[in-house]
Symmetry: C2
Amino acid sequence: MGKPTLEFWYDFASTYAYLSAMRIKAIADAAGVDVLHRPFLLGPIFRAQGWTSSPFNVYRAKGRYMIRDMERLAAERGIVFHSPDPLPQNSVGAARVALVALGEGWIAQFSPALFELEFAERCNISATSTLEKAVRRVGEKSGLSLDFARVFERSTANEIKGLLRAQTEAAAAAQIFGAPTFRAADGELVWGDDRLDQAVAWEAEL
Amino acid sequence: MGKPTLEFWYDFASTYAYLSAMRIKAIADAAGVDVLHRPFLLGPIFRAQGWTSSPFNVYRAKGRYMIRDMERLAAERGIVFHSPDPLPQNSVGAARVALVALGEGWIAQFSPALFELEFAERCNISATSTLEKAVRRVGEKSGLSLDFARVFERSTANEIKGLLRAQTEAAAAAQIFGAPTFRAADGELVWGDDRLDQAVAWEAEL
């Protein structure tokens, strides 16, 4: 049997997914659990529920509350949070680069690097220059030789576009309705950064 | 200065408010914080957001997930959870009796007693017999002499009806959009049973 593996489903536009992306590796490592990154798009799932934007824009009081909640949690955890503009960001290009990274084995470094640019440094993740910055940081930290022009071109190939659509369809089929969502090997779904420890413990005990 | 007091806003129809009602006293006591119970109705707040029922009915995948989440949390905490039928329950009568209890000083006993009947024993809280059972249990535990016929008649007086409407309007004015919500003396809003400890700590540190 292989190592227990927890699926981490996230959209780069999700504020709470930022919280999980910054700590999932440490928590999973401590429990002897591997993480399978599964970037997807919430947009089509929200639209199927009748929302034309993030629920935090559709429901204003909830949106205002979410920012305050994120500020408190970031302060508790000693990380930086600045609400990006616009919120949510367009995360299609980011998800496509992430799928290239998934295929090549550097998504565990790319994901927190891009989330940090978005929510700590307020870079617009729909800008190619931001994606380039994230890839460059991965290269610097990991020692991998990553040519951004090649990565970006690959991310716009039909194969990757189709893969992202398939990921999002798989999310909907798995009854995923928000992010972050964690899925254990037995199919157990656990939603929200608040439940990250519970999700890792569930997978470890299977 | 009086003792720090945290407001506990809840609707008896809320599953997650059940979790908080069963533990708020112990957590607040340990932190030297008083609890002010503020029962209100989510229905008008949800309708203002365009929902005709609980979001767990409007969004089915989220509703199915919520039941599973409650089952896991109840198991972790050693309490019983059975989803009532129908879900959500009509909580208008329950909230009115709670406001009588608030005025008379026994709401801290009534609230967990009724939540337990609803979510552990699957009693319908819109039935007068369930409200009576809860009031009887409060009397037995506290030694208070509570005549249910008197309590119930009082709960249907225009004064109590108006008080409940005022509570719900105050919730909307305070930007409350869900339950349970905790409000500290400085106006800080903290939403959800997941944040109960954070809310009590916030109030204690004011």
